[in-house]
């Protein structure tokens, strides 16, 4: 008997008891379905976070002043000397593999345009920020080094700010008063979306030099830059570049050889690794759930296959009498079990995908069902069919044809 015959026979047998077949395979359907839903939501969430982190820049390092020990007393965060233009220059000139470096001085400002007002983060940045953050303007232009040098009061705004202040109107050329200083809008940034619960588009960028004098208030450090953002050049190892920057900055900031850094370097790639470690744990949990539900489903399959073998003892006897070998009978019942599981797996997959997308639509979740997960689900259900179909199939194949034919 060939595979096609086995399949045909199995289909006929399963159709004869359609209701029972469906009920039997319900365990597999629910198991596979729930795993698909959970993994869809789980990997959707982690994919979303990964995308957000990627939009922040995975090849980006952020450097800010850390804590400093003064006379055995540890200061708070930011108590160390601030980052300055000199640090920026030292990194740009002293470190290999740096594509772009930008200073970034952050503050909050009250924005007013006409009747509308809005509080937003204002970032005083050098023009290289466009490159570092890989964030082009959608309309207008970015300010240049000349704008900065001339102390121009120009601003590039995020799409959220544009919407809140100008509604649908074109903001280019309009004036925004920030902490009462008038700034001309020269560009609107492309929309980036949420990251880490923060709206990245709720932002205003102005030249760093202008920010220093107009927005942040006086400091005793004239060339303060707040944070330094570094974009690592493609092809360079981000960890090595980070180590080089650390070396340059320790030297420049005169950190003693065995002392702690008085600055911090944050690496988004590390974030990503932490995230993927977390999603690996989640994946493991899901796999365990899947395994348990498939085992439960498999036991149901085995149970009903044993019943089926008993019910069809005479049929088995007849098949043996007319020439079926033990292997033929075994193959027939194994095919039935595997087919039952496979169909269950497919139904479960379909239902799972459906439910996942309904949930996604209802709760605005991101759902991602990887082809790999779908394939695994189907493969696992076929495997369950083989494992739990084996005992009933072997029992059938070992029946004595004489007794089987006489079975009432």
């Amino acid at each position: 008997m060939n595979v096609l015959e086995f399949l045909k026979t199995a289909l006929v047998a399963l159709r004869l008891n359609l209701m029972r077949s469906v009920l039997t395979t319900l365990g597999i359907i629910i198991g596979v379905g729930s795993v698909i839903v959970m993994s869809g939501i789980g990997s959707g969430a982690s994919k979303q976070i990964e995308d957000q982190i990627a939009s922040l820049g995975t090849n980006q390092l952020t450097i800010f002043p850390g804590a400093q020990n003064v006379g055995g007393r540890r200061g708070g965060f930011g108590s160390a000397p601030p980052m300055t233009e000199k640090d920026v220059r030292a990194i740009r000139e002293g470190v290999q593999g740096v594509a772009a470096v930008a200073g970034n001085l952050q503050g909050n400002a009250n924005l007013v345009a006409g009747n509308a007002n809005w509080v937003s983060r204002v970032n005083g940045v050098t023009d290289e920020i466009e490159q570092v953050r890989d964030w082009p303007v959608a309309e207008g232009r970015f300010f240049t080094a000349d704008d900065a040098a001339a102390g121009q009061k120009v601003a590039v705004i995020g799409s959220t700010v544009a919407r809140e202040l100008f509604g649908g109107a074109d903001p280019l050329g309009s004036t925004i008063r920030m902490n009462n200083a008038p700034f001309t809008v020269i560009g609107v940034l492309e929309t980036k979306g949420q990251a880490g619960g923060q709206d990245q588009d709720d932002i205003v960028m102005v030249p760093l030099s202008t920010a220093r004098s107009r927005l942040v208030g006086r400091t005793n450090v004239p060339d303060i830059v707040g944070q330094i953002l570094v974009k690592v050049e493609d092809g360079y190892n981000i960890d090595e570049v980070q180590a080089d920057i650390e070396k340059v900055l320790r030297e420049r900031r005169r950190v003693q050889p065995n002392a702690e850094n008085n600055f911090m370097i944050r690496n988004f790639a590390e974030f990503l690794e932490t995230r993927s470690a977390a999603s690996r744990t989640l994946g493991l949990l899901l796999a365990a759930t899947a395994a348990i539900s498939l085992v439960v489903g498999g036991i149901g399959i085995m149970n009903i296959m044993l019943v089926s073998v008993t019910e069809r003892t005479r049929e088995i006897g007849l098949r043996m009498a007319i020439g079926a070998r033990g292997g033929d009978i075994m193959g027939q019942f194994l095919t039935e079990a595997v087919l039952l599981c496979l169909v269950g797996g497919l139904i479960g997959l379909t239902l799972g995908v459906g439910v996942a997308f309904v949930l996604a639509a209802a709760f605005k979740w991101v759902v991602y069902i990887s082809p790999w997960a779908a394939l695994m689900a189907i493969g696992a259900s076929a495997f369950v069919g083989v494992v739990f179909g084996f005992v009933p199939a072997r029992r059938a194949s070992q029946l004595n044809p004489i007794d089987a034919l006489r079975y009432e």
Partner: protein, 240 residues
């Protein structure tokens, strides 16, 4: 498998002994039975229940092997075969007809008749399965019923489907175990005449029955009692 020459018996039993062990008791089902059945014979095996009749039939059907002695089908001794070879022997040389028909439910007459061919490892025969099955159904007078399932057929028609199934792989021997036990007297005559016609065309048929008028259709009688062959004689004029 050897092809039987004209002189080879289809069934050849020599000092056939079968003993079952039931706990501490040994049940002597057959205590030394010898006979030959030649091609084209129509043999009835009779005997009361417990006589060893069923054991003998199982052995002729290559479903059971002897404890001692020898049973050969077409010259092949079944005692030396493993279960797969026995299955192949049954598939190629034997056709079974049962009292309860044993047709697959909700399966058409044509598919039921084809069933032995699905277990046959001869690609040529498999390729011709539909034609062969249809031809056999026509032979037993069911040309119009090929697409009917057993529940749509009368008892006599179902038994004819079973006979067509037994014939489909060109066997050397048809083994019919109480083939009319579930049929009324009119249909019994019909089915027994069909067997008779088959033997007249050269088929060998072994019939197991306890009804004398059914056995009367055969040409030779083997009577078994207490595990021994007590009578082996021709049947003349249908009288037992």
């Amino acid at each position: 498998m050897t092809t039987p020459s004209a002189g080879t018996p289809v069934v050849s039993a020599r000092d056939l002994v079968k003993t079952y062990q039931l706990g501490d008791f040994a049940v002597h089902a057959l205590r030394g039975v010898s006979f030959d059945i030649m091609p084209g014979e129509f043999v009835a095996i009779m005997g009361p229940s417990g006589s060893g009749k069923s054991t003998l039939m199982n052995m002729i059907g290559a479903l059971d092997t002897p404890t001692s002695g020898d049973l050969a089908i077409n010259g092949v001794s079944i005692g030396t075969l493993d279960s797969d070879s026995l299955a192949e022997l049954r598939n190629r040389t034997l056709g079974f007809v049962f009292q309860q028909f044993n047709l697959l439910a909700r399966t058409t007459a044509l598919d039921n008749v084809k069933l032995p061919l699905t277990y046959c490892r001869d690609p040529q025969k498999q390729a011709q399965a539909n034609d062969r099955a249809a031809a056999r159904l026509r032979e037993v007078g069911l040309a119009e019923r090929m697409d009917h399932v057993p529940s749509q057929l009368s008892g006599g028609q179902q038994q004819r489907v079973a006979i067509a199934r037994a014939l489909v792989n060109d066997p050397s021997l048809i083994l019919a175990d109480e083939p009319t036990g579930a049929l009324d007297s009119e249909t019994t005559v019909e089915i027994m005449n069909l067997f008779r016609r088959l033997t007249e065309q050269g088929m060998t048929v072994v019939l197991v029955t306890h009804e004398a008028d059914v056995a009367g259709y055969a040409r030779r009688l083997l009577r078994v009692r207490d595990g021994r062959l007590v009578e082996d004689r021709p049947i003349i004029g249908g009288a037992i």
